[in-house]
């Protein structure tokens, strides 16, 4: 476990020293700041007053998903690909640490950094609290959703980065896997049969975030996010153990 913790802290340090992480952080804050401004304006506009659900808009809007679809590949792409490109992987995989431990350390460091990126947005809720009472239950549920959906997205990124030595290819693979994963839910409207409709609805990530933003913590959603995360991390560790390179 000491090796896992050592690797997590090393990875986190690498994040904080890399320009890319700051670009991603800036992008996330810029977009979220804009969305927050939009929500506040809308709430203050008598024409819209009460018509919009602030949390649903913030955590399940177009911008939320757009940002997430770019943030996850950007944060994950470096993790293993860079070690393979530079050759440091040789040191890492001959050290007393298993492939699964390497994958878990990489994933956790990305996840912790991702959570850190979302931290400043809590101030938005605090600002609102200053002017008006905030219902903290749905806010907490939404952040739980941000964390579990983020874990799922990052685990896909970890799998992709375990497959190639090119960061660019890793990011492209992540993106290509995330798009269908994200769009499953939209198929719900295209089918009529009851069973597939239910399946697509169950797999719909926007539906999950919608529920979270209403303060509904559905264990089925959490089970889906976490089991898929574990599944992708398992594949990543198998890919790393196979050493299908050179």
């Amino acid at each position: 476990m000491n090796a896992v913790w050592a690797t997590i802290t090393r990875e986190l340090r690498a994040y904080f020293l890399s320009p890319l992480a700051y670009i991603v952080a800036a992008l996330l804050l810029l977009v979220n700041g804009f969305v927050f401004w939009f929500i506040v304006s809308a709430l203050n506009n008598p024409q819209f007053g009460g018509q919009i659900a602030p949390l649903g808009f913030f955590f399940n809007g177009l911008f939320f998903w757009l940002v997430l679809l770019f943030v996850a590949p950007a944060l994950a792409m470096r993790l293993i690909s860079e070690e393979r490109r530079s050759g440091t992987i040789e040191m890492l995989l001959t050290a007393p640490i298993t492939e699964a431990q390497v994958v878990v350390s990489k994933f956790l460091s990305a996840w912790i950094f991702y959570a850190f990126l979302w931290l400043p947005t809590v101030t938005y809720a605090l600002i609102l609290e200053y002017y008006h009472e905030v219902d903290w239950g749905p806010v907490a549920a939404s952040y739980l959703g941000v964390l579990t959906v983020g874990a799922l997205f990052l685990s896909v990124g970890v799998l992709a980065t375990a497959l190639t030595r090119s960061q660019l290819v890793a990011a492209a693979i992540t993106f290509a896997l995330l798009i269908p994963l994200f769009s499953f839910g939209f198929l719900e409207g295209l089918v009529n049969a009851e069973l597939p409709k239910q399946v697509f609805s169950y797999l719909s990530l926007p539906q999950h975030m919608e529920d979270f933003s209403r303060g509904i913590v559905e264990t089925r959603h959490l089970a889906y996010h976490l089991s898929a995360t574990v599944f992708f991390l398992f594949l990543a560790s198998r890919a790393l153990a196979a050493r299908k390179w050179r």
């Binding site: 090796a3 690797t7 040789e90 995989l93 007393p96």
Partner: protein
Amino acid sequence: MIEVQNLTRRYGDFTAVDSISFAVDDGEIVGMLGPNGAGKTTAIRMITGFLPPTSGRVRVSGRNLFEDPVEARRDVGYLPENVALYPEMRVSEYLAYRARLEGMTGAAARTAIREVLADCLIESVARQVIGTLSKGYRQRVGLAAAILHQPKVLVLDEPTVGLDPKQIIAIRELIRTLGGRRTLLLSTHILPEVELLCDRVVIIDRGRVVAEGTPDSLRRSWQGEAVVTLELKEGRAEAAELLAAVAGVAAVEAHGDREFELRCRPGSDPREELFRLAVDRRWTLLELAQRKASLEDIFVRLTTDDAGAAAAGAVEPAAAGEAGEVEN
């Protein structure tokens, strides 16, 4: 103790390492010698557990690296051919990370780091960011990391490549002091390094072990084919024929009518006969010297049959000059 049994690695149709077997005993320094592309690095990657073998087995201190990876890897220190380090870390941070990976903590880790910084002559760059270090320093940081946890078995893949002569001497000195205390496998294509450092040599060519033994025993078994060079003051037309008739001389190669190279029959030393012949014929001898087969000759001969020039070209010119010294 490293035991390698029938180790094989194929990449598609290409067999990089073809059923090699050898062992390195406790406290022994064994040099793995071979031209570039002979399969040294592939073999070493399997021995250190980085690359799974296609077939065959590696045991380090009695443990299989793929069946018992975490425990077995604790016993191994490894310096890869291309020393790759995290460029954004400081040297001391990197060593601290490696110490934690190896399960060392607190005072033990700090002491170990202080020791290897001193041993590898990198105290002066301990606070420097690795990305700003020269190749020689990086090589030494890699070596420091490999010996940090005092592994029983140390595997070094071309440890002196890219260093300047002064650094090479320092690193060789360090390797020599390390060797007494632990099992050491060293790959190189620099011949003097092997003669200087190694108790035993395994010569590898095209994925196979082509010779194995101490540098002395290898030299002895090839000494039979020693070459005698002979130079006369004045040219003698009849000399070549007379020299070929001397007992023990297998073949004569004449460079003009004054200089000759005589290939000797195995185990014979015809120099005395040659001297008598010169005296009888009243030739003035300028040179009469026997050149023993150097490790380099053996190496070149063993690795040259078909793959020819490629293998010979792999020997570093500087190294070739040093190893090919004329004896006697």
